[in-house]
Symmetry: C2
Subunit: 357 residues, 2 copies
C-alpha cells in the first residue's frame, strides 16, 4: 500500500443541519476516505475526496453475497475546542478480526488511524459540540468484483464516511424498554456473530419490528443453541447488577467484542466494583428479578454509550428494573465514560487520541 | 405498482463470449430489469434498460446492514429453438418468503413473471444452446436508503440481470469431492438460513476456503445446534441413497427450500423410488458408508442441476461413494431433469414455461 494519501477538497460546502435535528446517521459531511483493493495490487490509492455516490456493477458481490464489514466510532469536540477520538485503534483491530472471518484481506491499522485523523481534520467543522452530540465515524468495506460465483471477491473498496449525530435513542439517556426475543436468532458460535458484518444486522430486523410493534425499542438476544443464555442487545452489549455484583455475558464467539463493553469492565475494576464475565441464563436473571436482587441493567455501545434498561419483557413476564429509573451505577459509568470522551474527566487509561485541529 | 413496463433498448450490443468460455456469472447481457420501491409509492417504475452500473449513496443500507435477497433460475434454448424457463413461479414465491424474513415489502409474483419473460425475450440472442449451457437469471433486491440507523429501509431496488453460463463446477457432471464442516456454521433455526439472503453466503466463505485448501470443491454443512445433522451443501441441497431408499434432510427452518430439491422428490415419487425427508445425522451416514449401504450421494441446485458426490471427508474419515463414480440413479435424475429443462424429455408436471421467441 502506498502511503501517499491524496486529498481532493470539495469546491462547495453543504449546509450543516441544526444540532437538535441531527438524529443518527442521517446527514453526512463534505468528504469521505476511499481506498481500493485488487488481488495483484493489494490495498492501494488511498484518497480523501468530496462525499460522493458509489458506482458499482449490478453483479458486484456485495449485493449478492454480503461480503462486507464495518466499524463505528466517534469523534468529540471538547469545551476547549480540541478533537478527541475514543480508542480508535481498537476499532481497526476489530475491523481486521471481522475481515479475517469474512475472507477480506487485512489492512495496516496504523495507516488507517492516520487516514482517519486526516479525514476528521478536513471535516472538523462538522463535529457538533452540543451536549450528547458527536461525529459518528463509519469505516466499511464492500466487495466490488462483478461475478456471481460464490467465492471471496478479488476487489474491494474501503471507505470512511462521517455523520454528525445526536443521541441514538429517541428517549435520550432515559431508560429503554427491551423485548427478550424467544423465536428469532441473531447468531450462533461458528457463525459470524463476533464479526461486525452486514448479515448479522439483516438477521435482526424482523425481531426488531416485532419488538417495536409491542412498544419495545430494542431486542435482547438469547443464544441460538439453547435459547437460554443472554447474548446482547441490537447494537449493544449488556450488563446487569445483581446483588452488588456486575455481570455481563462472556464472549463466546457469537457476541460482538464491544469496545464500550471492554471500557466499562476496565472502569468497574478500576473502581473496585465486582464485575464478572460469565454465562447468564434468562431464567437466572428472572429469578434475581423476582427475589429482588436485580438492581440495575444497562446496554453499552458506541452509539448510545450507556443505555439504562428500565424494563425487560420475557415470555409473559414484565420486569421493571429499578422502578424504570436510571440506576446509580449506570449513571456513574455514563458520566465517567462520556466525560473521558468529551475531555471533561481525566483519562487514566490513555483511551483518547487527539486529532489536530 | 403500475403495469406499464417501459423498455429502453441498448443502442450498442456487446460481443458475446464463446460457448466454451462462459464459466458461471462472468458475462452479462445487454439489458436488465429495474423497479423501485418507496414507502409512499410502493413498487413502481418497472423498466427494461441497457445493462448499466448502479449508483448509490455510500450510506445505502445494503452496504452496512445487508438487507437484501436474491433468486436464481435459468432459461434454456431447445433444439427446436424455443425458450423454456424452469418453474419460475416457484422462484418468485420463494423471493417473497425471503422478503418476509428480511422485512422487505412483497412484490406481485405474476407481474414479476411477465417482466422476466419480456426481459428474456429482449435478450434472447444471449441464450446459449451448447450442451450444459443456459441463461442464468439473477433477480435481486437491495435496500437503498441512505441512513445508518439499524431499521428496515424505506427504499429498495429490484433488479434482474442475465448471464449466459456453462457448467457451474469446473469438473462438469463428474462427481465432486466435499468437505464436511465441523467448525463453522452457516445457519440455525430462527436465523436466515431458509431465506436466500446475502449474509448466509458471506458466512460460508471461510469454510469454503478451508475446503478448497484441502482439495475439496464444496462444503457440507451440519446443523448449528447439535453439529450433528446434515443440512445442505454450499449452494445445493443434498440427497443420499442408502440401502435402496433416498434420504434428504427435512426442511427445518435453516435449510433453503430448493426448487431442484422439490423437483427431485416429485420425480422420485413419480418413479416409485422410495424417498424420505428426515433428519439425517452425519454418524448415521458414516455408519451406512462403513456397512456398505451408502449407495449414492448427490447435490441439487439450479446452477449444477445434479452434482454427484464422489467423496465426503468428515473429521478424519474419507468416504469414497460409489467408487467415486456417478451413480445410476443420480445419472437418471440428471438426464431426466435436464431433459425436461431442455425440452427433450416430456414434462408431465407442467414445470416448464415457454417464453415468446
Ligand atoms: C451487535 C453489536 N453489539 C455490540 C455493539 C457495541 O460495540 P461497541 O461498544 O464497540 O460500539 C455493537 C456496535 O455498536 C454492535 O453492533
Ligand atoms: C444455500 C442453497 N441451498 C440450496 C440451493 C438450491 O436451490 P435451487 O434448487 O432452488 O436452486 C441454493 C440455490 O441455488 C442455495 O443457495
Amino acid at each position: 500500500m502506498t502511503n501517499n494519501l491524496e486529498i481532493t477538497l470539495s469546491t462547495s460546502k453543504k449546509t450543516k443541519p441544526q444540532p437538535d435535528q441531527l438524529g443518527f446517521g442521517k446527514y453526512f459531511t463534505d468528504h469521505m476516505f476511499i481506498m481500493d483493493y485488487a488481488t495483484e495490487q493489494g490495498w492501494h490509492s488511498p484518497r480523501i475526496v468530496p462525499y460522493q455516490p458509489i458506482t458499482l456493477d449490478p453483479a458486484a458481490k456485495v449485493f449478492h453475497y454480503g461480503q462486507t464489514v464495518f466499524e463505528g466510532l466517534k469523534a468529540y469536540r471538547t469545551s476547549d475546542n480540541r478533537i478527541l477520538l475514543f480508542r480508535p485503534g481498537k476499532n481497526f483491530e476489530r475491523l481486521n478480526h471481522s475481515n479475517n472471518r469474512l475472507s477480506i484481506p487485512p489492512i495496516d491499522e496504523n495507516f488507517l488511524l492516520d487516514a482517519l485523523k486526516k479525514l476528521v481534520e478536513v471535516d472538523q467543522d462538522w463535529i457538533p459540540s452540543a451536549e450528547g452530540t458527536s461525529l459518528y465515524i463509519r469505516p466499511f468495506i464492500i466487495s466490488t468484483e462483478a461475478a456471481l460465483g460464490v467465492a471471496p471477491s478479488h476487489n474491494y473498496q474501503f471507505m470512511i464516511i462521517l455523520s454528525p449525530v445526536g443521541s441514538y435513542y429517541a428517549e435520550g439517556i432515559h431508560p429503554v424498554k427491551i423485548n427478550v426475543e424467544n423465536h428469532f436468532v441473531r447468531a450462533v458460535p461458528g457463525g459470524t456473530g463476533a464479526a461486525k458484518t452486514a448479515g448479522n444486522y439483516a438477521a435482526g430486523l424482523k425481531a426488531q419490528e416485532v419488538a417495536s410493534d409491542r412498544g419495545y425499542s430494542q431486542v435482547l438476544w438469547l443464544d441460538g443453541v439453547e435459547r437460554k443464555y443472554i447474548e446482547e442487545v441490537g447494537s449493544m452489549n449488556v450488563f446487569f447488577k445483581i446483588n452488588g455484583e456486575v455481570v455481563t455475558p462472556v464472549l463466546n464467539g457469537s457476541i460482538l467484542d464491544g469496545i464500550t463493553r471492554n471500557s466499562v469492565i476496565t472502569l468497574l475494576k478500576h473502581w473496585g466494583v465486582p464485575v464478572v464475565e460469565r454465562k447468564l441464563a434468562i431464567d437466572e436473571l428472572y429469578n434475581s428479578y423476582v427475589n429482588g436482587t436485580l438492581e440495575e441493567a444497562f446496554g453499552t455501545g458506541t452509539a448510545a454509550v450507556i443505555s439504562p434498561i428500565g424494563e425487560l419483557f420475557w415470555d409473559t413476564h414484565q420486569m421493571k428494573i429499578n422502578q424504570g429509573q436510571t440506576g446509580e451505577l449506570s449513571k456513574r459509568v455514563y458520566d465517567t465514560l462520556t466525560g473521558i470522551q468529551n475531555g471533561t474527566v481525566a483519562d487514566p487509561f490513555g483511551w483518547v487520541v487527539e486529532v489536530k485541529s
